[in-house]
Structure formats: C-alpha cells, structure tokens
Amino acid sequence: MKKIIAILFLLVLSYGIYLSINSIPFGVSKTKVGNYYNLNGVKDTGANNIVTAVVLNYRGFDTLGEVTVLFLAVLGFSTILFTMKKKKSDNMPTPPSLILSIGCKFLFPFVLLFGIYIFIHGHLSPGGGFQGGAVIASAFLLFYLVKPSEKSSKKSFQLIESLSGMAFIVIGILGLVFGNYFLSNFLPKGIAGKLISAGIIPLIYIFIGIKVGSELTGIIDRLMGKNNEKQVK
C-alpha cells in the first residue's frame, strides 16, 4: 500500500521535475558571476584554480561557516557515541591478511604524502584542503585496517583540529587588521602559477586540510571503537 502511494507520488513528482528541467538548458553559460570569476579570478586573487579562489577568497566567509558546521557535526557525532559500550567480539579481531598488512604499511606514508601534496597545491591544480584532508583520512583508515588495536591519541587530534580552526580565524582577523575586511588577502599575490603565490589562499587551505583530515580521522577512529575502553571503566 505504502509502496503504491510512494510510486504514485514519485511519478507525479518526476513529471513535475521533467517540466521544470525542460526550462534549464544544458551546456549553456548561465550566470554572470561565474563569468566574472573566470575572467578576473587570476588577477584578483593570484590563484590559478578558480574554484579555490571562489572557495577561499570570494566566498571565504561561507567556507568558515562550512568548517564550523563540519566541526559541530563531528562534535555531535562524538557526543552521541561518547558512552558507547565496547562489544565483546571486538576484543578478538581477526588479524589482517599478509597482503593487506604489508600493502597498507607500504602505502600509508605515500597516501599521506599525496594528501599533503593535494592541499598544498590547492591553488595551482585540482584539489585543495577538503580533498587533501579526505585523502589523509583515508590513509589513516588504511592504517587502522591493518592495526585495529592501535590506539591513537584523541587529545592530539582535538588539539590539532582546534588549533587549525583557530588559525583560520586568526588569518581572517589579520586580514581585518592589515587589509580592509575579514579574510582580506593581505599577503602579496606573487606570480600566478608559482607555488608560493596567491597570498593567504595556500595558507588557509593548509589549515583546512589539517582540520578536515583530523576531523574525518576522528570520526573513523571513534567508529572503529578503539578509544572507548577508557570511558567504559
């Protein structure tokens, strides 16, 4: 019964969507602001990657809010799982196979390095703090797969995360002091295409990378159920 109603409603909805997306042409330039960003982005910000320029310069304040949302979600996540009891079956994990353990141990530093590369080159090539942070988190995921009993220091994660979040705001306030407005690009822009260019953008992206990396790692860490032994006792 519920299925029939659902399918009926969805059919009507699909028809409505069909009607409305008919009026959105595909493959045509639609926004003026996008054009503006493309034409003036390099000149304004000094970053080769326009997406990065938009994320961190034109709409840097949005990103700050977004990082806050991320932080709050992770906070809620940890709060919900704070008193979770450890299952007994977790005490005796089956050891990982040889290929997995060797491969992951071998890959871990390279994946980590790749993540760092991604967020350092955020203003030059595709990638940036968010992607790099995710890659770092997946590196830690590999690490945990190999050594499920390994304990990571939760405190240090939190410290890194908070410090990098604070650094973002400090840079913003420095922009307020040296420039005209919050998050203004007060450092010299340099030559577009060089690694050290685009003012504060690579700096912020590095902090975002560290922050996102440590947050996502924290989620995985918590969900793996390793840090709970202390709280149970």
Binding site: K2, K3, A6, I7, F9, L10, L13, S14, I17, I21, I24, F26, G27, V28, S29, K30, T31, V33, G34, N35, Y37, N38, L39, G41, V42, N48, N49, I50, V51, A53, V54, V55, R59, D62, T63, E66, V69, L70, A73, V74, G76, F77, I80, L81, M84, K85, L124, S125, P126, G128, F130, G133, A134, A192, G193, V212, E215, L216, I219, L223
Partner: protein
C-alpha cells in the same frame, strides 16, 4: 540532458527509499543517494559545452569558455558537510540499535506518541 536524468533518477530512488524502507541504515543510504544526485545536478547545471575546467593549468586557456566555478565551489563544501552529517546520522542509528536491539523504525515505539 542525460546528466539531469541521472541526477534526478538518483534523487527519486533516494526518496523512494526514504518513503518505503523502515530500516534506519537503509534510510541513511537513501539520504546519501539524494546527496549524490543533487551534487551531480548542480555541477551539470554549471557545465558549458566544449568548456574547460576553471583552472589555468597551462597557458593559452580561454576564460570565456570555462565552466561555471561557483556551483563547483559550493558542491565541494557540500560533499564534506554531507559526510559529517551522515556520520552523525549513523551514530544516532548505532545508539538506537544499542538501546532497542533493532533498526526497524516501526518497532521503535519510543518515537511514537
């Protein structure tokens, strides 16, 4: 055009899951499907035929035929937020499972009045 169909196909599948399935994890999967579909739709709206990525990776790129960078920037942050919120939803599901021993919404009577 086909991208639109793909995107809304995913969204409608996700909505169907949310409307019919009672398993909590399944519903979260549905939410993640909607997420993916929505991201795809936003990016495909910003696409321009024969356009290039909005990155000046080599000299001689024409900024006038670059695709729209704004939806890309927005979607970039949306993806990261979605993972955090999904993690939170999963945490809630895990707690509910611990408390009630089931993931079936219909059987969790505490939620009802």
């Amino acid at each position: 055009m086909v991208y639109y169909i793909g995107a809304f196909g995913l969204i409608i599948i996700g909505l169907y899951v949310l409307m019919v399935k009672r398993n909590l994890i399944k519903m979260i999967i549905g939410i993640s499907l909607i997420n993916t579909g929505l991201n795809l739709f936003l990016i495909s709206v910003g696409f321009i035929k024969l356009g290039t990525a909005p990155i000046f990776s080599k000299p001689g790129l024409n900024p006038k035929i670059m695709v729209d960078p704004l939806p890309q920037a927005m979607v970039l942050t949306a993806i990261v937020i979605s993972v955090a919120t999904l993690a939170m939803a999963l945490a809630l599901a895990i707690r509910l499972y611990e408390h009630h021993g089931t993931l079936d919404m219909g059987k969790i009577k505490d939620q009802k009045w």
